[in-house]
C-alpha cells in the first residue's frame, strides 16, 4: 500500500460516511476488507475525558487518539501532519503532559484526561499563550499552530517542574526559561512556514509573564 492511496480513499470515506468510517484513516480499505470481513474487525469501548467532558466510544482498536479526536469527536483543532511522530502537529496534553496523539491508540487512554487546543482556550477566552501567538504573529498558514501552542504551554510547565533539556548546562541547578531552552524544547514541533522566531517571541512574553 502507498500512503497516498491510503489517504485519498480514507478522505473520501470520511467525507461520505462521517464518523462511522473515520477509523479507516490508516487502513488500506480494499486490502483490509479482503483479509478481514468488517464484522470481525475488533472494536472496543473506551471512556475518557476530553476538555473536561466525559466521552464514551466504541472504536476499532486501530484508531489513534488523533483520529478519535478529529473524526469521532469532531475536535478538528488538533492537526495531522505526518502521522508518525515527526512533526508535532498532533500535540495534545494527556494527564497534564504533552504527547503526540498520532502515536497513541484511543484504547490506551481509558480513564485519562485529554486537553486539546479547544480546551486550552476559546476565541472569547484565549489562553495567554494563544493570545501571545496572535499578538506576535506566531504562525503563517496556522496548520502547525494548535500543536505549537499545546507544546509551548507544556514547555513552560516542564521548565517550571525542573525537567532538564539537552541545552541545560547545570543539571542540578535551577531551570530558566531562556530562548535557547525554549528553542531546544520546541524542536518536536515543525513549522513549514518558518514562524519560529515569532513563536519564540510569543513564548518569551508568556514566560516573562
Amino acid at each position: 500500500m502507498s500512503d497516498r492511496e491510503n489517504f485519498s480513499v480514507s478522505r473520501r470515506e470520511v467525507m461520505a460516511g462521517g464518523a462511522a468510517t473515520a477509523a479507516a484513516t490508516a487502513i488500506p480499505p480494499a486490502q483490509a476488507r479482503a483479509q478481514q470481513p468488517p464484522d470481525t474487525v475488533p472494536t472496543m469501548p473506551v471512556a475518557f475525558q476530553v476538555n473536561g467532558k466525559q466521552v464514551k466510544l466504541d472504536v476499532d482498536t486501530r484508531t489513534t487518539l488523533l483520529d478519535t479526536l478529529r473524526e469521532h469527536l469532531k475536535l478538528t483543532g488538533t492537526k495531522k501532519g505526518c502521522d508518525h511522530g515527526q512533526c508535532g502537529a498532533c500535540t495534545v496534553m494527556v494527564n497534564g503532559v504533552r504527547v503526540n496523539s498520532c502515536l497513541s491508540l484511543a484504547v490506551m487512554h481509558e480513564g485519562d484526561e485529554v486537553t486539546t487546543i479547544e480546551g486550552l482556550g476559546q476565541p472569547d477566552n484565549l489562553h495567554p499563550m494563544q493570545a501571545a501567538f496572535v499578538k506576535h504573529d506566531g504562525y503563517q498558514c496556522g496548520y502547525c499552530t494548535p500543536g505549537q501552542i499545546c507544546s509551548a504551554v507544556s514547555v513552560l510547565e516542564e521548565i517550571g517542574k525542573g525537567i532538564p533539556s539537552h541545552v541545560t548546562e547545570d543539571l542540578t541547578g535551577p531551570m530558566r526559561a531562556t530562548r535557547d531552552e525554549m528553542r531546544e524544547r520546541m524542536s518536536g514541533n515543525i513549522c513549514r512556514c518558518g514562524a519560529y522566531s515569532n513563536i519564540s517571541d510569543a513564548m518569551s512574553e508568556v514566560a516573562e509573564g
Binding site: T61, N100, L105, I163, L171, G188
Partner: protein, 316 residues
C-alpha cells in the same frame, strides 16, 4: 494497519503469559515505535498486551547503592530524577539528546531499549531487507549507507541500533531484569542484551518469546565527569550519526561507549584502558575490526574528533 485485539495485563507474569499464548502477540508500552511501524505494516501484531497498569513505573534505590528503574518509567521522568541528574548525569544527557519532548514523555525504559533500527530500507516495504523479510536480501549494503553501521555488522545486515539512552546504560554496565511466561525471572547484562546481526538480523535481542522487561538496574555510581556528545544532521530531534558517552575520572582514566556505529551500543573495555593516551589510541582499539562502507567511513574519524571533544570537556 492490520487489525488486532487488545488487552491490558494486570501483572508482569500474566502479561508475559498473554504474549506467549497468542501467536503474533506483542507488548505495547509507550507505543511510539511500535505504532509507527504498525502503520507501515512493518510490524503486524495480531494482539497487543498493554503493560501500562503493571505498577512498574518507579525508580528505587537498590541495596547495593545503585538504582532500579521500572520498565514503564518514561524517558522524561528518568532524565529528571534527582539521583540520575546527580550520580548518573551521562544518562540524563543521553536521554535528553534523543527524540522530542512529546516523545520522551511517552517513551518508556523497556520500549526505548527495544526500539528498532532506522535503516531507511527497513522502513521502505518495497525494498529487500533481511531484517524485515528474512532472506530477501539487504538493500543497504550496495545502497545509501551513510547512516548505517561500521562495526559488528554482517553481510546480511549493516544497520545500527539507533538509540541514545542505551549507550549511557552500556557505559554504566546496567542490567536488564525480565520475567518469562512461566514466571521465572532473570538478569541480563546490557552488554549481552542486543545481539550482533550475524545471519539472523531479524532477531535483535536475547529476549525469548513472551519474555518481558520489568526493570533496568544501575550499579553504584562511578563518580567522575559525565559527558554525552551526539553528532547529527540537525542540532535537535534527529538520530545520531555518531554519539559518544563517557565517564572520565580526574586522573584521565575512565570508560567510553559509542552510539550510531553498530548493532548495539559499542564499548570495548580494552579501549577504555587507553583513555589516558587520548582519542586516537581509543578509537584505533575500539574500531580495529571496523568494516565501514565508502558512504560511512567518515564515522570513524568523526568518532575520534567527537571523543577528543569529550575528553577536552571532561578536563575543563
Amino acid at each position: 494497519m492490520r487489525a488486532f485485539t487488545y488487552e491490558r495485563a494486570g501483572d508482569p507474569a500474566g502479561a508475559a503469559k498473554a504474549v506467549a499464548a497468542t501467536k503474533g502477540a506483542k507488548f505495547i508500552a509507550g507505543g511510539t515505535n511500535l505504532l509507527d511501524l504498525m502503520k507501515l505494516e512493518i510490524e503486524a501484531p495480531t494482539h497487543l498486551v498493554d503493560v501500562q497498569d503493571l505498577g512498574l513505573d518507579k525508580i528505587e534505590d537498590t541495596d547495593e547503592g545503585g538504582l532500579r528503574i521500572g520498565t514503564l518509567v518514561s524517558n522524561t521522568t528518568l532524565s529528571a530524577h534527582p539521583r540520575v541528574r546527580q550520580d548518573y548525569a551521562v544518562l540524563t544527557r543521553a536521554i535528553q539528546a534523543g527524540a522530542s519532548g512529546q516523545l520522551r514523555n511517552k517513551a518508556t525504559t523497556g520500549g526505548n531499549l527495544l526500539q528498532r533500527t532506522r535503516c531507511p530500507y527497513f522502513y521502505d516495504p518495497n525494498m529487500p531487507c533481511n531484517k524485515r523479510r528474512p532472506g530477501s536480501g539487504c538493500a543497504a549494503i550496495n545502497g545509501a549507507s551513510r547512516q548505517l553501521g561500521v562495526i559488528g555488522t554482517s553481510d546480511k545486515c549493516i544497520a545500527t541500533y539507533p538509540g541514545d539512552m542505551a549507550v549511557a546504560m552500556r557505559l554504566l554496565d546496567a542490567v536488564v531484569e525480565t520475567v518469562k511466561p512461566g514466571g521465572d525471572t532473570r538478569a541480563i547484562r546490557i552488554a549481552d542484551f542486543h545481539r550482533l546481526w550475524g545471519d539472523t538480523p531479524h532477531i535483535e535481542t536475547v529476549l525469548e518469546p513472551g519474555e518481558m522487561i520489568t526493570a533496568v538496574t544501575l550499579p553504584r555510581p562511578l563518580g567522575g565527569k559525565h559527558v554525552y556528545h551526539k553528532v547529527r544532521d540537525r542540532r535537535s530531534y534527529a538520530f545520531a550519526l555518531v554519539s559518544v558517552a563517557a565517564v572520565i575520572q580526574p586522573d584521565g582514566t575512565g570508560r567510553v561507549a559509542f552510539g550510531g556505529m553498530a548493532p548495539r551500543p559499542w564499548r570495548v573495555e580494552a579501549a577504555d584502558a587507553l583513555l589516558p593516551r587520548g582519542a586516537k589510541a581509543v578509537i584505533e582499539r575500539a574500531f580495529a575490526d571496523a568494516r565501514p562502507t565508502p558512504d560511512n567511513a567518515f564515522k570513524i574519524p568523526l568518532a575520534e574528533r567527537t571523543l577528543a571533544g569529550v575528553i577536552a570537556e571532561a578536563r575543563s
